[in-house]
Symmetry: C2
Subunit: 329 residues, 2 copies
């Protein structure tokens, strides 16, 4: 296993230490492994809490800051944080206007956030479960669809709405709307290697790739021979477009890198995806290209489309200041 | 070879097509493979032109935009652009205040930019050659030191100065000052694979890493057994600190990913680097962590320190709007 780490058991804790050093504008609770906005709780603002297993960076800790999340809980690699972390995060961001939990649909995360919400006495908590992956209906870790790329777009958009001072009920409704309007599909050229395991999660021969992969190396729809980027783009875009009509409103088109795929290839993929969307009559209003929801050192990519009305686009464009996404402020 | 590409010979051209689709605010000259600011040439502003072999994305095309470069020429993978491209870029960004060529110190790039400068009749051209890599004195592609991580910081800082309307002589002097105050050292866990070659550039056994690697897979200082991140950080920071006194002014500390190293590991490395700097009495004023000057799908990282006075820090903080770096506007 070739990784820039010290002790496989200390990866998350040490990465958080590095994050604290690099980003003094954030406040990191090392005991509870929570990344907080430096000024949390913000009085009168709905607090946004997310979190999940580590290994998907910059998600979620890298999306904490003005205009996006108020706190993110870091679990062990590919393992849900525990309810105590989520409870501490919820208390730490409660500015009197309630708290929204943004949860990717994995059984452990959903269960633990639910427990944390129940324990958050005296704080109004709403929950949105993101389940945008069209690849599989159930999976190794999920009942229903997995939560993947739409989570990034949702955290940005809902973060802007909370920053504007919208009330909890509106912010939660907006989050559910974004989830309903977003769809994703991913693929892997290689497996990832979990540090504590020390070997690749699955075997993928040199001549094959996995279509419909999840962000933890869990199986996808099918294993097929390597193909040109143009065909891969079709295998990702077609199921997304079949699942939802994306011609009514313009879309935010997000081509995501899984962690080990260079930007050169992601831009090439974006070109293929854009050409397919044009052919399908889908108008792209905004784009995002890069590694934003990763799977450790997996090579591969995912495509997310979000059907975005004027409100969503203007929230997308609003200022954001986080380590992972930053503009307009 | 597992890559998201179509034809190995068309990678650069197709990636530029994707970049054009994703970034309508840029203007891409596909024939000459030049990424321009959408509003170039900017009247009265010094034009900044850089470029080099592809495979280092987001550098340089991803650093084109207000507050940074006016144009970037894309060569084939790991191959210098040709003088005609540089000449077209120089003409395209000349707003009457002259043009600065920012050149990484590789023999082909230096020679070709020199020729382009000579051909740019009627346009005042200055050149800065970046040579910040402390690893080796000469290399496979270089007489003198290679140009690596400092290039990213230089393009940002000098870009801000040009945006302020500083004259060419000042902008060029500033660029040389940044080069003189920046030092880098890199390492690789794995080789990269050039698409046209189809196999890894070099063999690196599963138990070894290369210290002092260049950004094209050219050999470094030495090959050593795998070591913990803490020791790797020492192997990178020590030669940088030995080469220049970084205790006088605060530094911008840049931990760069080589393309296939996930952010989780880069933050962990940043923590180790920050601890070493603190011990050495070096004060960190700003940080940058991520894949900004990459080497295709190489796993590894580099550390760049820039000794930054107040002017450099305030130029670093100035607004920038490019695909690769964006803040404050």
């Amino acid at each position: 296993m070739k990784k820039l780490i010290n002790d496989p058991a200390a990866v998350v804790q040490e990465a958080l230490r590095g994050m604290a050093a690099a980003h003094p504008e954030l406040r990191i609770d090392h005991e509870n492994r929570i990344v907080f906005r430096g000024d949390a709780p913000v009085r009168g603002k709905v607090g946004l809490v997310s979190g999940g297993g580590s290994g998907h960076e910059p998600m979620h800790g890298g999306f904490v800051g003005p205009g996006m999340l108020d706190a993110a809980c870091a679990g062990e690699v590919f393992t849900s944080p525990v309810p105590d972390q989520m409870l501490a995060a919820t208390r730490g961001v409660d500015g009197g206007a309630g708290v929204l939990h943004i949860v990717k649909n994995y059984t452990g995360d959903v269960m633990n956030f639910e427990m944390a919400a129940e324990l958050s006495e005296g704080i109004e908590v709403e929950t949105v479960v993101v389940d945008d992956d069209v690849a599989v209906q159930d999976s190794l870790y999920t009942a229903g669809r997995r939560g993947v790329g739409t989570t990034v777009l949702l955290e940005k958009i809902v973060g802007a709405a909370a920053e504007q001072g919208r009330p909890l009920s509106e912010v939660a409704a907006l989050a559910r709307k974004v989830d309903q309007r977003g769809r994703s599909m991913g693929m892997a050229l290689t497996s990832c290697t979990v540090p504590a395991a020390g070997h690749p999660t699955f075997d993928l021969p040199e001549t094959e790739m996995e279509i419909g992969i999840g962000i933890h190396g869990e199986p996808g729809r099918r294993r097929v021979p390597l193909a040109p980027a143009r065909e891969i783009a079709e295998m990702l875009v077609e199921p997304v477009l079949s699942d939802l009509d994306f011609t009514a409103d313009p879309v935010i088109c997000f081509v995501n890198g899984m962690g080990a795929t260079p930007l050169l290839e992601l831009y090439l993929m974006y070109g293929e995806v854009a050409a397919l969307l044009e052919k399908a009559g889908v108008r792209v209003a905004r784009s995002l290209v890069g590694p934003y929801i990763t799977s450790l050192d997996m090579a591969g990519c995912s495509v997310t489309l979000l059907s975005a009305d004027d409100d969503l686009l203007s929230l997308w464009d609003a200022p954001v200041t986080t380590p992972g996404l930053r503009w307009g402020a």
